[in-house]
Point group: C2
Chain length 375, copies 2
């Protein structure tokens, strides 16, 4: 298919050679650049591959201008591309082929970005990856429709999997995507309900249930299980992979919430403390509610119930300060570390089944990356 | 599965006997009530069947309160249920079984309502089927997420089709749904772009292209072709069915636009002239633009470009009046009739392949219904 890449925002036209991701060697170190870490290079290479795949999926439609270019806006901004990288690494690590995993990996990235477009409208966010959110730039109606379009476009490549990897694997992936969508919508519904109903009678268990659905399933569980399905892997400890993905997802979301409270806006690419403005019930906020005196707790609840845009800056600053002073940030950091530790244990049960390769190394490295990242 | 129907809005707990839809007799007249038309009874029976099917799809999840009950809001309001009825009628008319068509028919209704939920947000509509729109009642964030959830829920029953009707037919239906989603999002993108860019340099061809995508594909083409696929029908004139569905869809949308301009709010269930407030480029509006004097045309454009909620009532009244006086309403009526006539011709090419049955009679009656309906 002829694809014109001329007008695409942020498109890196010089495709990097993909040494790591397509390589089967056991000796990966020779291939690495001196500067970047394995994690960063693996992610960057997958991003290039996924960009090409997304261009192929979007194709040369005459509706590019009014629809499809907007679908590529978020995916082509400088994203991590974690989901496709996890899918590919598990597929390759279990002996599968890159070409078999690529379309599905691209679809997972497309779904992720579709949810982001809608999430940004729902949360009233202004920045995404350092640029205006889609609804800020093009209005809410267009943003909702573009998100729907990204979901609509996701189905065909998964149907084409039947020809690529056979019916059995294709249907496994479709079932996973079906579950993934349900889980993330349920997680999002829980969170929206808490905010809308003004609920603060929530414990860590509630938070963890929401995050297992909202983040872990669609960022980690679905991509990794899809990778295993696409590899046609039958004999590997599926429960260990699932556990690895779940606990890693929880660590990832806690870290994300920490960065939102306490990170560097430039590196993070979103408004700092945006979660407080949105009244998000993070682990840290729930901790703070438990340790505040009744009167301060009432003030904190009032701040968190204030609609976005109606806050006094000093109230948000006060809340941010309390989160630090009362040990809530430290509490979150400790829990993120604990879940990262659990991820390492789960990965040890898997390692014997993974080929010694960059793909296995990438999966090992991702645990550290998840809790140490600045964005 | 145990399903509690107690709290469902608008649920008709006394399930009507479904004489027509499940009946194979060639003599349908004996089964009809004296009062209702065949069209109305067929639609009503399908609605009851689809309500049960939707309850089964939604199931007894613990997230009913925060999510799934809201997904049933629109489908259980007093809708026409046209899409499932068309799917079932074609399937049965071509010799297929009711049980094979039901889950897909319910999914088509679910998709339709998901798009309505998002459309209502995009258009800023206040009423849907005589009650507040979902975002009016529960806020925009919840409405966007509920729409996403309805789409997410639609995939599983289509995957379960593989066990029900076999792989070949299941995949055909999935391909149709994939195309349907793309077509409707493209149609919606066209319309949003015209409004956003303030474009009035549009002809009937532009309108018809948009409507073929936005309405015909997802209300008529996909349901009917899915019905044929589920029946396993191989030897019927597929091109005639497709043509029947397309031209009927166009007649349907023109009639919908006419009702919006000129209908009875109580019967119609939406705000009359809401399309003018939203600046929709209907066939009638485009006609008016062609016949108005330059100065009046400028006034009309200014009214249509005014954002929703900022209009003076007299401007909308003036526009409505001009549409009548300048023959634009008559022009729309005549075109709806012409497309209905084309639908009758296409149906004649199909009739020899349809079993003589209520299902065939329903398909014949639907042409009249489409252009004569008051809602």
């Amino acid at each position: 298919m002829e694809v014109d890449t001329g007008n695409l925002p942020g498109r890196n036209t010089a495709i990097r050679a993909t040494h790591l991701v397509s390589h089967d060697s056991q000796n990966s170190t020779a291939l690495r650049d001196a500067g970047d870490s394995l994690t960063e290079r693996y992610l960057a290479e997958v991003r290039d591959l996924i960009h090409d795949e997304l261009l192929a999926i979007v194709g040369g439609s005459r509706y590019r201008g009014v629809l499809y270019d907007l679908m590529l806006e978020y995916p082509l901004r400088d994203a991590k591309g974690l989901r496709p990288a996890l899918c590919i690494a598990v597929c390759r690590g279990l002996g599968g082929r890159l070409a078999d995993a690529l379309p599905t990996a691209a679809v997972l990235e497309l779904y992720h970005n579709a949810f982001l477009v809608h999430d940004d409208v729902e949360d009233g966010s202004r920045l995404r990856r350092g640029k205006p959110t889609l609804h800020e730039a093009h209005g809410v109606p267009v943003a909702i429709n573009v998100g729907d379009g990204m979901m609509a476009l996701s189905l065909q490549p998964l149907l084409d999997n039947t020809r690529r990897v056979g019916l059995g694997r294709a249907l496994q992936v479709l079932e996973l995507v079906s579950t993934m969508c349900r889980e993330s919508v349920e997680g999002q519904a829980l969170e929206l309900d808490w905010i809308r109903a003004g609920r603060f009678d929530l414990g860590d268990r509630d938070y963890l249930e929401m995050v297992r659905k909202k983040t872990a399933w669609y960022t980690f569980v679905a991509p990794m299980l899809a990778g295993a399905a696409l590899a046609g892997a039958a004999r590997y400890p599926r429960s260990a992979l699932r556990r690895f993905a779940t606990v890693l997802g929880i660590a990832f979301q806690i870290q994300d919430d920490l960065l939102n409270l306490d990170g560097d806006e430039h590196a993070y690419g979103k408004e700092i403390a945006g979660d407080l403005e949105e009244g998000k019930r993070t682990l840290m906020v729930l901790h703070l509610m438990r340790v505040l005196e009744p009167e301060e707790r009432r003030r904190a609840e009032a701040v968190l119930r204030t609609p976005r845009g109606a806050h006094r800056v000093e109230d948000l600053r006060w809340l941010q300060g309390e989160l630090r002073r009362r040990g809530s940030i430290d509490y979150g950091r400790a829990l993120a570390q604990r879940y990262a530790q659990r991820a390492r244990s789960a990965l040890r049960r898997l390692e014997a089944h993974l080929h010694p390769s960059v793909h296995r190394e990438f999966l090992e490295s991702i645990v550290e990356y998840t809790v140490a990242r600045a964005r």
